[in-house]
Symmetry: none
Subunit: 222 residues, 2 copies
């Protein structure tokens, strides 16, 4: 079942969310402020984060920004009425939803379900489109200008990981860890070779795969 991280400095809020989320069968973890949230996210993966805005040490906006630098996790924001309300809409990272305090736990859970569903559907049937490049992750299918392209397993895995983390700088170490697995003890350059083959498979859309000299690679697109 999905894992939730609830980030809020008020015990009462965390407890209410935990109670309801438990009941719905979600796995819940807590953080007391933005700093803690960022730390926890370094070692653990969540399917969704519920984050308060006003918190000591590190506020919700900054924390989200920090976390999103590394992982594309959906985030629901909690905001007191009026407080920082405007910022939500100008927020660059693109939060997935927001709920105004005081909120009904049932409504919050409904939002969580909606966001999770939206995201899982995206992972499933949805075809991601970047100009003439179509990527169907659930169907393991890649189409270039209407033509189906067959790739090797590693090419698929690599492309999907890049796309799932588009616009994020990814080091070779990170790619090896995530795409190859933590138990891979090979050469860094292996990534290069696969990037090359992937670029060949993508034809003109190789342009989406950007080399970050001295760093790694990035899938750059909207």
């Amino acid at each position: 079942m999905a894992k939730i991280l609830i980030v809020d400095d008020e015990d009462k809020i965390r407890n209410v969310v935990r109670e309801y989320a438990d009941f719905e069968g979600y796995e819940v973890e807590e953080a007391r402020d933005g700093m803690e949230a960022v730390d926890i996210c370094k070692t653990k993966d969540f399917d969704i984060i519920i984050m308060d805005i006003m918190m000591p040490r590190l506020d919700g906006f900054s924390a989200s920004k920090e976390i999103r630098k590394k992982k594309q996790i959906p985030i629901i924001m909690l905001s007191a009425r009026g407080e920082e309300y405007d910022k939500l809409f100008g927020f660059e990272i693109g939060i997935d939803d927001y709920v105004v305090k005081p909120f009904s736990p049932k409504e919050l859970m409904a939002r969580v379900r909606a966001v999770l569903k939206r995201n899982s559907q995206q992972a499933q049937g949805d075809v991601l489109k970047f100009e003439g490049l179509e990527i169907n992750i659930a169907g393991r299918e890649v189409i270039v200008d209407g033509e189906k392209v067959t790739m090797t397993p590693k090419e698929y895995d690599l492309l999907f990981y890049l796309v799932k983390n588009k616009n994020l700088a990814l080091t070779r170490e990170k790619l090896l860890e995530e795409v190859w697995g933590f138990d891979f003890y090979g050469d860094d350059r292996t990534v290069d070779t696969h990037i090359k083959m992937l670029r060949n498979s993508l034809g003109e859309y190789r342009k989406f795969i950007v080399t970050l000299r001295g760093m790694g690679y990035k899938f750059e697109a909207n």
Copy 2:
């Protein structure tokens, strides 16, 4: 009119169900526990089974599993409040509905009607066609170029699951879990063997089953 099998060790329950089902014009047969239910199902066909979970000799889960091995009869489960409640959701066989004791007989009958209706609709219209390959899931029938093909149970199950999830990449683990059941602790390659036999059965339409190297299989068609 539809035939119902009510399986429960409490006389009171069986009597109440019989009374209401009689009134609605259903034909009713009774079994006192899972073992009896399995036996009766060997010789007689029912349109729906209402099955208690907690019973002497053979519990409702095991009995359902046993019966479903041979026949695809819709099953409504009866469970005492709380008791085994969780299991219902993790139950792989896919029960059609469940009712918590103590239940209102009227509600139970409504569920029975709903399930019967749902199933009869499915049984009728659901013939999937992929060129010369016709698949009637509810009727457990597969036709290749007008000729009915007989397959082994596992072949049917595998084909149906693939078709129900067409165009979706399915790992061997997923297939084992969904087609074989969560309690199967065998070899991954068992899937391969069954895929091969299935391909043989499908003749030229084997083309719909594509191998996803490094991943699993997929039924690819529109």
